[in-house]
Structures are given as C-alpha cells and as structure tokens.
C-alpha cells in the first residue's frame, strides 16, 4: 500500500537519497517509503530519478504503484544479472512453454493414433501408423516448433 510519508515529517526514500527536501507534492513519496531505501536506490541506479518521474507522470495515478513495483522488480533483476536482467526469466519461461506445448502435441497425437488404431482393423491401423511417420513426425498435429512465436530479445523485431 502507498505510504503517507508525504504528509509526515520524515522525507521519502527518494528525497533522502537525493538529499533534497521532500515536498508535500513529491511524486515519489507515496511509493518509496523511508523504510525501504534500497528500493529507490536500485531504481535510481538502473533507470534514474528523472526517467522514473517522467514515467510516473505519464501513467494514471491509480496505476503508479504498480508501475513503481514493476520498475523496482526490473531494477533488482538487472542489478543481480547485469547481462540479462529480467529478460532472462522471460527467456526461460518461453522455452518452458514451447517444451510443454510440444509435449502436449505429442500426447494428443498419441491419443488420436491410439483411438484410430483401436477402431480400425489391424491392417489399416498399421498403414495409418506408417503414413504418420512418413508425414514428417509424430510429434505434432499440424503444428511445428516454428509455430510457437515469441518476441525474441535477440532479433530486435519486437
């Protein structure tokens, strides 16, 4: 929850860090309480106070807390991993989705093949199996790995 430090005597974490007077209309005060100095320190290190201030002014007041929390998350991730930041987590999750989707397609293919073989006489069933294998693999029902598209951090096509 947003703190009310702008109405107390204690300056907010941002103004403490920047060594300036915390005014009543300080845009940082509701979101950077003095009890969490590291939060602003991280955000300032990665994004800078002026960028954060501009960003907060561009979003609706009721969305600012979410914006600050997401910036704090991204800043912390970037500090812990200077190369990938939070994008590393996105890459890992994307691969996981692709892997799971492939597994799902393969399982669906097994299920369909299973039910088809159960319904057909054995001669036709083996013919179906052969045509599946010749058709380019049993792992997909009309899908291929290239169908799972995600905005790649490395193609800059986002």
């Amino acid at each position: 929850m947003a703190s009310s430090s702008s109405y107390s005597n204690s300056p907010c974490a941002a103004c403490k860090f920047l060594r300036r007077k915390c005014m009543p209309d300080c845009i940082f005060a509701p979101y950077f309480p003095p009890e969490e100095p590291q939060k602003f320190a991280n955000v300032h290190k990665i994004f800078g106070a002026s960028n954060v201030s501009k960003l907060l002014n561009e979003v609706q007041p009721h969305q600012r807390e979410d914006a600050v929390n997401s910036l704090a998350y991204e800043a912390e991730a970037r500090i812990k991993d200077p190369v990938y930041g939070c994008v590393g987590a996105i890459s890992v999750l994307q691969r996981q989705v692709i892997r799971l989707q492939k597994e799902l397609d393969a399982t669906n293919a097994d299920l369909i093949r299973y039910t088809c073989n159960n319904d057909m006489p054995s001669g036709q069933a083996s013919a179906t199996r052969m045509s599946d294998d010749q058709g380019g693999g049993s792992t997909s029902l009309g899908q291929s790995p290239s169908d799972y598209y995600y905005p790649s951090p490395w193609n800059n096509n986002y």
Partner: protein, 296 residues
C-alpha cells in the same frame, strides 16, 4: 550527420541527441540509424548515461547480449507502460499453468483409453472371461468424459453431438494453434475463480481496486523466481543466445497477447466463439472415447 571523409550515416543514438557520431561512439553498434524508435524507447526508460555506465562494466563478449536484453526490456515497457516485463512474465506463467493442466488431462484420458484398449483385447479371450470384461467395458471412457468435463467445463458441451461424430471426421481436423488459443481462452474464463492467485493477472489492467493488491502478491511471488533465475540464467548464458536466434515474433504472439489483455467483459463476449472451439476439441476427444464404447 555524416562522418568525416565518409558517407556513413550517424547512429540512431547520435541522431536523437543531435551530435556528431564518431568512430568511437559506444552506442553505434547497437542502434542502427534505420531504427530510431528502438533508441527512443531505451533512452526513455534507461537514459544514455545509465546505458553507457552499464556497458562499461560488462565484458566485451557480453555487451551485445546485454544491449539486446536492454532493448527488449525497453520495447516491452513501451508496449506496457505500467507493468513492463512483469506483465510478460505473468502471462507466460499463466500459459505454462494452462498447458500443464491440459497435458495432465490428456495424459489421464490416454490412460483411460489404454485401459479400455486392454479390455478390448480381452474380449478375444475365451468365453469364460467375456461377461466379466463386458461389465467393465462401458465405463472407462465415460469416466474419461466426466473427467474432462470436471477439468475443463466447456459451456456448450453436448454429449449427443459428440456421440454422433465418427472418428473418420476427427482425423480430418487438426489441432491448430488458433483452436488451442481459443480453447485456452475458454479455460481462462471458466477457471477464473480457481486460478492460483499468484498467477491471476487479468485484474491489474482494468480493475482499480484490486490492482495494487494483485500486483503486490505477484511481485512477492516474484522474489523467489529472481533467486531461481540467477542460477538458471548463469548456467544457460551460452545456450540462450543461439537458441533464440531461431525464434521470431509472429502473429501468434499478438494473437495470444490480445487474448491475454482482454478484460473480463471482453472475455465474456468472446465466450460463444471460444466455446465453439472448445466444443470442437472436446467433441473430438470425447467422441474418440465414446465411439469406442459403442460395442455391438
């Protein structure tokens, strides 16, 4: 602006800052002149001085990768000004949960069909055993149907239609990506109340009252992934970059993104369309089981 004695164009960074682009420009390799928007996004989020500070601390071999991730992060923030990368992470987590649920259901269905097949084989056993097998033969796949109903709860599921759909027609259909997305939309709607709270991200985009709490709970959940992520990312540095050379963004991301961003009202409006796709998938699976039980 041009370089001295040459016709090389200034990089997007120097163009934006209206300064001379020299051969020692740190940002020129990462911001080509024909993509000004990319630099604008990075400049807006990080600022030039912060980018240069970060680049100076990195090994030369890692600079390109780091800049790519910074550009990606800035582009995502441009697309989602409020939640940025966190929105993408939550969307992917939800997608993983959805696919795992579907995989679990399909595995169970497959197991049921295997059991039924085994019983079907047993029908060829001597007559002593036929009666006992027939007693068991009708139930497994109908249990499978009930299981799927319980798991997925499509809104317009019709058993009679499923029963009448022969297997030959099922073979002509394929599970396209769009069908899965629509199907997943329906699952998304139907399981609104049962989605784990740390995965539920619909509310922050339209609901003012619960946005802070939802975001906070999700961010709290994010602390652990940060810890896990370190180990995973450090190990996979060399794998990640070449792996993603083969992946490109296409329409299906936009398609899924649109589905993800829809508010609850819009989702409800999409329900009949989604239900149709859900019913189609459900019909295929259900009919497969159902027709097996129709033993003469």
């Amino acid at each position: 602006m041009t370089l001295k004695g040459g016709t090389t164009q200034a990089c997007a960074a120097c163009k934006f800052q209206r300064r001379k682009c020299t051969s020692e420009c740190l940002l020129a390799p990462y911001f080509p002149a024909d993509q000004p928007k990319m630099f604008q996004n990075v400049h807006k989020l990080f600022g030039v001085s912060n980018i240069k500070k970060m680049l100076k601390k990195l090994d030369p071999a890692r600079k390109k990768i780091a800049m790519d991730s910074i550009i990606f992060q800035a582009n995502i923030r441009d697309k989602y000004p409020v939640h940025g990368c966190w929105e993408e992470i939550c969307r992917l987590r939800y997608q993983i949960w959805r696919v795992e649920e579907e995989l679990h259901a399909v595995h169970q269905q497959l197991e049921i069909c295997r059991q039924h097949y085994q019983q079907h084989l047993d029908h060829h056993l001597p007559e002593d055993h036929v009666a006992s097998q027939l007693e068991l033969g009708m139930t497994p796949c109908s249990n499978g149907l009930q299981l799927l109903d319980h798991m997925l709860q499509p809104q317009d599921y019709n058993n009679k239609v499923a029963a009448s759909l022969p297997i030959s027609q099922q073979q002509q259909h394929s599970f396209s990506n769009s069908n899965n997305e629509a199907y997943n939309n329906s699952l998304y709607i139907d399981h609104k109340d049962s989605v784990p709270s740390h995965l539920w991200v619909e509310q922050p985009y339209g609901d003012n009252s619960s946005s802070s709490m939802a975001m906070q709970s999700q961010l709290d959940a994010s602390q652990q992934p940060l810890v896990i992520q370190e180990g995973e990312v450090v190990e996979d540095y060399d794998e990640m970059h070449p792996f993603f050379d083969t992946i490109d963004d296409r329409q299906s991301y936009v398609y899924s993104q649109e589905a993800y961003e829809s508010s609850s009202e819009e989702s409800l409006k999409d329900t009949p369309k989604c239900t149709e796709h859900v019913a189609e998938n459900e019909l295929k699976n259900a009919a497969a089981c159902f027709s097996l039980t129709s033993v003469s």
